[in-house]
């Protein structure tokens, strides 16, 4: 009897210890993270590296992915318009692989992933399943469920509205299914990969890798409106309007 009680007590202690460790690990995800390539962004809002690297900065903006012919043509058309287009934000999946920062808010029941454009992804980690296909609410950010495999967050996402908000967003269809694996490999580094299955836009699954590093000068994001847009178009070129008299 004593031996049984002892082993029960030890097992209970192990459970408590495990949940405490998990709580500490989850808290470590909270905060602001840049993609590895976005961490060098200057006060200009741009990187200080050679322009020839531009297409490699956004891993999802890749004409060499296994696109169907029709999807590649749509993507090429979109990219051709990019120079005179503005973005309304990112949407998913672009928000995960941009040069702007992300904020993770992690609880045992859900993970929120946010951007300064007020993109919000709610990843439910409470054990629920994805909605039935006929009940899915299609949005720019999709519907996500996740679970933890040790230090790895595994996310399944569906019901993402296309085209996306970003002017260079790839032409995935609303039938796409996204599987992400995000693993904290150190206190200031998360490594991830995303596999996209899209029977309409891709000829086979496509996997893209992305690493994140903790922001140097920010421990939280501040969410503001985007009301001071002074960029305007004149004769096909952008120009800067003077400030309004009210400012």
């Amino acid at each position: 009897m004593t031996a049984r009680l002892t082993s029960f007590a030890l097992a209970a202690l192990a459970v408590v210890g495990s949940s405490q460790a998990q709580a500490q690990d989850l808290a470590a995800w909270n905060g602001v993270w840049f993609t590895e390539q976005g961490a060098g962004t200057q006060i200009s809002g741009f990187l200080a590296s050679d322009d020839t690297h531009r297409t490699t900065q956004l891993p999802l903006v890749d004409l060499n992915a296994p696109w169907t012919n029709e999807a590649r043509a749509r993507f090429q058309e979109r990219l051709a318009q990019a120079a005179i287009s503005k973005s309304e934000g990112w949407g998913y999946p672009m928000m995960m692989m941009t040069l702007t920062p992300l904020e993770f808010v992690v609880t045992p029941e859900q993970v929120l992933i946010l951007t300064i454009y007020r993109d919000v992804r709610a990843v439910h980690t409470d054990g629920r399943e994805l909605s039935a296909p006929e009940d899915r609410w299609v949005t720019e950010w999709g519907e996500s469920v996740g679970h933890w495999e040790g230090d790895t967050l595994v996310i399944e996402t569906v019901a993402v509205r296309q085209p996306n908000l970003f002017f260079r967003a790839p032409p995935f269809s609303e039938a796409a299914r996204y599987t992400e694996r995000l693993r904290m490999v150190g206190p200031d580094r998360i490594e991830g990969e995303m596999t996209i299955e899209d029977p309409e836009a891709l000829t086979r699954p496509w996997t893209v890798k992305q690493a994140y590093v903790r922001a140097e000068g920010l421990d939280h994001l501040v969410y503001d409106t985007f009301s001071n847009d002074r960029t305007t178009l004149e004769d096909g070129l952008f120009a800067i309007l003077p400030p309004s008299e009210d400012d």
Partner: protein
């Protein structure tokens, strides 16, 4: 020199876009211009921060519209809303607008005696 107080510098490497708002095509990233003047206004706003800089050109006071990244990028580099105030004198290096209008993309900000303003890198 065409514009007193303005120095056209060497070719600078162009930059890939970090901001989601628009592409950098509006700025001539092969040229830099350095402006010395007085800050009339510093806007700490989305999607861009802006500096209104008054520069003396040919005996006239000319105001430049200078664009920066979103506040999040400035904050991550140590800038704050109070980093520049009206009346501050500054020397600002920009990629000028392709259109030739008095505007540009801010690359670097220092005081007139060369001290860094904010922590840019």
């Amino acid at each position: 020199m065409r514009w007193p107080g303005i120095i056209v510098l060497s070719v600078l490497a162009a930059s890939p876009p970090a901001s989601a708002h628009h592409s950098p095509v509006m700025f001539d990233q092969t040229r830099t211009v350095t402006l010395a003047g007085t800050v009339r206004q510093f806007q700490w706003t989305n999607p861009h921060c802006y500096i209104q800089l008054v520069v003396e050109q040919d005996g006239q006071q000319v105001e430049w519209n200078l664009e920066m990244g979103a506040p999040v990028y400035l904050a991550n580099r140590g800038w704050r809303p109070s980093t520049l105030r009206a009346g501050d004198r500054a020397r600002i290096t920009v990629n000028p607008l392709r259109s030739g209008a008095n505007g540009g993309l801010v690359l670097d900000v220092v005081s007139l005696d060369g001290k860094p303003i904010g922590r840019q890198r």
